[in-house]
């Protein structure tokens, strides 16, 4: 991977999507935003993101957790090794906890972080080449 990691944000809340976009794009991270699981699954094979920020509560019949399972279990998406960080404002419940521990690489309570902490989260992953932040 060369340069900054490619980020895919899956978030249906327009304001939050807007804030995260401003923050990440402001630092030059390649970023795409979708608001449903279908759009996510459509985009992933061609976009090949390094990190997916995946909201749990999403409109439609599939939640972020469903998407997580699909991305990990279906090889056609090529996302077996992609870093996936769950976004939520729920407290952890048993189901969520089990699934993220098994399939995801991180977990974020959106209300609990300041926008720039996204960089700390990204940097906590040991990419071959991590972009210098701030």
């Amino acid at each position: 991977m060369a340069g900054l990691p490619k980020i895919l944000l899956v978030e249906d809340n327009v304001q939050i999507a807007d804030i995260y976009t401003q923050v990440l794009s402001g630092k030059g991270y390649p970023l795409k935003v979708v608001d449903t699981v279908y759009k996510l699954l459509e985009l992933v094979p061609e976009y090949k993101p390094d990190i997916i920020f995946l909201d749990i509560m999403l409109p439609g019949d599939k939640s972020g957790l469903d998407a997580l399972k699909i991305l990990r279990n279906d090889p056609k998406y090529g996302t077996a090794k992609t870093r996936i960080v769950m976004l939520t404002n729920f407290g952890l419940n048993e189901e969520i906890e089990k699934l993220w521990e098994k399939y995801a690489d991180g977990y974020v309570i959106k209300a609990e972080i300041d926008p720039h902490e996204l960089f700390d989260i990204i940097n906590s992953f040991d990419f071959e080449k991590t972009a210098p932040v701030e």
Binding site: I16, D114, E117
Partner: protein
């Protein structure tokens, strides 16, 4: 023995003792003395009788023999002068009616004269071959007396006398008849045989004394019967040597047999005596039946027996009457007390007498009415207790040592879905099938214990969550082992869950707009250069408030996690001294703002613990914030740290408003807030201490407080010191390479 008898028997025995026994003794003495007297008289009588009979018989016999001897000494007879002898002998025979016959023979046995039935018999024979002739041949020179014969039907006796010539004797000194017969055989000229009928003699001897029932018999020297009142018996000469008195006679044939009690030839009990007859060696035996002798005393004994029997019957009747009279009131008392003991407390015992028993009955009646009052009081109390028991919302059950239900109130029965009477006697574990954390669960009623959140599925398939309080009862006389109280918490729990769900939903809903606000404020603050200083300050304040709001929501969610047991800690090795020092720094600004002196007294670093860094930092932050919050201006807050016995104790002391005793009790429960304090700070939800307590306990620590109202508070908590073994254990399940901050976690593992 005496004690176990009933009164009737005792009275009877007493009556017998004083009336029947003396009667019996007197009767026995009387009968016995009479008996002795009768015996003496009978013995005397028998002595006289035996002697007189024997002597008379002896005399008669001697008379007969002497008369024969005298006759035989007649010259004409000695000389066997036929005609003269015939005349003289006929005359002699006719003089004695007892003589049946007479035979005179010479020394060759030739019969010279024979007289039969007072007539001269012409039939002459020879006596040579007869027994009588021995007198001549054996020259015994003695009178011979033959055996008694019954040949003619009557008893006959043969007297044989030798005929001795006087002329050749030459001894004139011998005059007596005894001397005459002792001569030599050469002088014997012949013999005279006289046959006597003994009927008359027998009759006079055997007849016995008139007016007595006595009898006599005669035996010969061999002990054979020769004479008996019943001549038929004597005829066959039965051998009587085994008969008592005969045997005695045979033992000493010459002695007089004094009267003794023995057996008669007829095998009856008799008093018997005998008199020996010297010449013939016979004995006259007299006897008198015992029955006759003792007839008077036996009669008196019979009479006495009859009197005794009558007296006994009379005694029984009298004692029965007496004892009935005596026991009637007692029996009525017994019957009355039985009815009372069966529960009839209205029963009055009726005893009319005024004696001790009457008094006793009256006392009993008094006692019964007292008892009735007491029981009615108890019943009232019991009813009250039942009403209270059944109106209590908690299920209350008493069990015995086998865990069987002895008593159950209405609430318990409702819980079991049955009537209280239906579960009585049943096994507690069978009525209430319990489980805890999906595992079958049984309470131990033998010990006092509290069991929380026990699940119970009722017959209507509803899951109840109940708190059970088993209270062991010591030494209950009714065998109650334990009182089990069951508080159905299902409704409270449902409500609690609804509350938590609501809080959880509300928090989530709140978080979305807060995230946006916080995000935008963050973005604004990245462009500080574009804003005025005042505007910048306002935005910073807005951001601070937003963070506070975030903390509040997050605490609400934490409560929900604690309630569900889902608050998880991620343990790492942490320098607690460093963490606390840094926390002091974080609060310095607020403290200074309120003019409160915040200081730290403890090591600066190198105090290692195992902790969830974020959670435990929240605890110390919360305590410091609280202390500042409840301390007035110019106050002081001191944070200190002591390391001791494998644990680290952290104190947060202040000289603020303190906590009331009531507050102390509820301090660590959720949503409780100490009243007063400055209206600012982050601890305003009343959740801080509740969450802190849970977090400390999840670290295996303790949290406590000492406080006095108006003087200040001292909050303290302990945490275990770092321990490698313990740490391995705590972190073994954790994934390594974890980054955790407030609000986010990532795992840096290679997929």
């Amino acid at each position: 023995m005496w004690l176990s008898l009933d009164i009737r028997t005792k009275v009877f025995l007493l009556f017998s003792l004083i009336s029947l026994v003396p009667l019996l003794i007197i009767s026995i003495i009387l009968v016995r003395s009479l008996h002795t007297e009768l015996e003496t008289a009978a013995v005397n009588r028998q002595t006289i009788l035996a002697k007189s009979s024997g002597q008379r018989f002896n005399d008669l016999l001697e008379t007969k023999i002497n008369s024969v001897i005298t006759q035989s000494q007649d010259t004409d007879i000695i000389n066997l002068d036929g005609d003269k002898a015939k005349v003289k002998l006929l005359q002699y025979v006719n003089q004695d009616s007892d003589i049946l016959g007479l035979t005179l023979a010479d020394n060759t046995g030739r019969v010279k004269v024979a007289i039969r039935n007072s007539q001269i018999s012409l039939e002459l024979g020879n006596l040579r071959s007869t027994e009588a002739f021995k007198v001549v041949t054996q020259r015994s020179n003695e009178v011979s007396i033959g055996e008694i014969s019954y040949d003619s039907g009557n008893p006959t006796m043969q007297v044989v006398v030798p005929l001795i010539s006087f002329g050749k004797l030459g001894d004139k000194n011998l005059t007596s008849t005894e001397a005459v017969v002792r001569r030599f055989g050469s002088d014997i000229t012949g013999l005279m045989v006289v046959e006597y009928s003994l009927s008359n003699i027998w009759g006079s001897i055997l007849r016995g004394a008139p007016g007595t029932s006595g009898s006599s018999y005669i035996v010969n020297a061999a002990g054979k019967l020769i004479a008996h009142p019943d001549s038929g018996r004597a005829k066959s000469n039965p051998d009587l040597k085994n008969v008592g008195q005969v045997a005695k006679f045979l033992d000493s044939p010459k002695a007089f047999g004094v009267p003794t009690f023995t057996q008669s030839p007829d095998n009856t009990e008799v008093l018997s005596a005998h008199y020996p007859i010297a010449r013939t060696g016979w004995a006259v035996i007299t006897q008198e039946p015992q029955a006759t002798i003792f007839a008077p005393s036996n009669k008196i004994a019979q009479l006495a027996t009859s009197v005794f029997l009558l007296a006994t019957i009379a005694s029984i009747i009298v004692s029965l009457l007496f004892s009935r009279n005596l026991t009637r009131p007692i029996l009525s008392l017994v019957a009355g007390t039985s009815r009372i003991s069966e529960g009839d407390l209205d029963h009055q015992i009726q005893v009319r007498s005024n004696d001790e028993i009457g008094v006793l009955a009256q006392r009993f009646n008094d006692m019964t009415s007292n008892l009735k009052q007491t029981i009615s009081k108890f019943r009232t109390e019991s009813t009250k207790l039942n009403i209270v028991l059944n109106s209590v919302g908690e299920g209350i059950i008493a069990v015995d040592n086998e865990n069987r239900i002895v008593l159950a109130n209405m609430s318990a029965a409702v819980l079991a879905g049955k009537l209280p009477t239906d579960i009585n006697g049943q096994h507690f574990d069978e009525v209430f099938t319990l489980s805890k954390n999906n595992e079958p669960f049984k309470i131990n009623p033998g010990s006092t214990e509290v069991y929380k959140d026990v699940a119970y599925i009722s017959p209507s398939k509803r899951i109840h969550y109940i708190d059970i309080f088993a209270n062991r009862v010591e030494d209950d006389p009714d065998g109650i082992e334990s009182i089990i109280t069951m508080r159905d918490q299902t409704d409270e729990r449902d409500l609690e869950l609804m509350k938590l769900d609501f809080v959880s939903m509300a928090a989530h809903e709140l978080r979305t707009p807060i995230t946006a606000i916080r995000g935008y404020l963050g973005l604004i603050l990245e462009e500080k250069s574009l804003m005025s200083e005042k505007g910048c300050e306002s935005v910073e304040r807005a951001q601070s408030s937003t963070k506070q709001l975030v903390g509040l929501v997050s605490n609400l969610l934490n409560v929900s996690k604690i309630e569900n047991g889902k608050l998880n800690m991620i343990f790492t090795k942490l320098d607690w001294a460093k963490a606390v020092s840094s926390a002091i720094g974080d609060h310095k600004f607020t403290a200074d703002e309120n003019n409160i002196k915040l200081s730290y007294d403890g090591p600066e670093d190198n105090v290692w613990i195992m902790a969830d860094e974020i959670a435990i930092k929240e605890v110390i932050n919360n305590l410091i914030a609280n202390s500042i919050h409840y301390t007035a201006k110019d106050g002081a807050v001191v944070v200190s740290m002591i390391v001791q016995d494998n644990e680290v104790i952290t104190h947060v002391q202040d000289n603020g408003i303190g906590i009331s005793p009531y507050g102390m009790k509820h301090l660590f429960t959720k949503f409780y807030r100490v009243k007063g304090g400055i209206a600012s700070g982050s601890g305003g939800t009343g959740l801080g201490l509740y969450i802190s307590k849970s977090v400390v306990e999840l670290h295996n620590g303790r949290i406590w407080v000492e406080s006095e109202e108006g003087k200040g508070s001292d909050f303290a908590f302990s945490l275990p010191s770092y321990d490698e073994v313990q740490y391995e254990k705590l972190t073994s399940k954790q994934v390594t390479g974890v980054n955790k901050r407030r609000g986010w976690i990532t795992k840096n593992t290679t997929r």
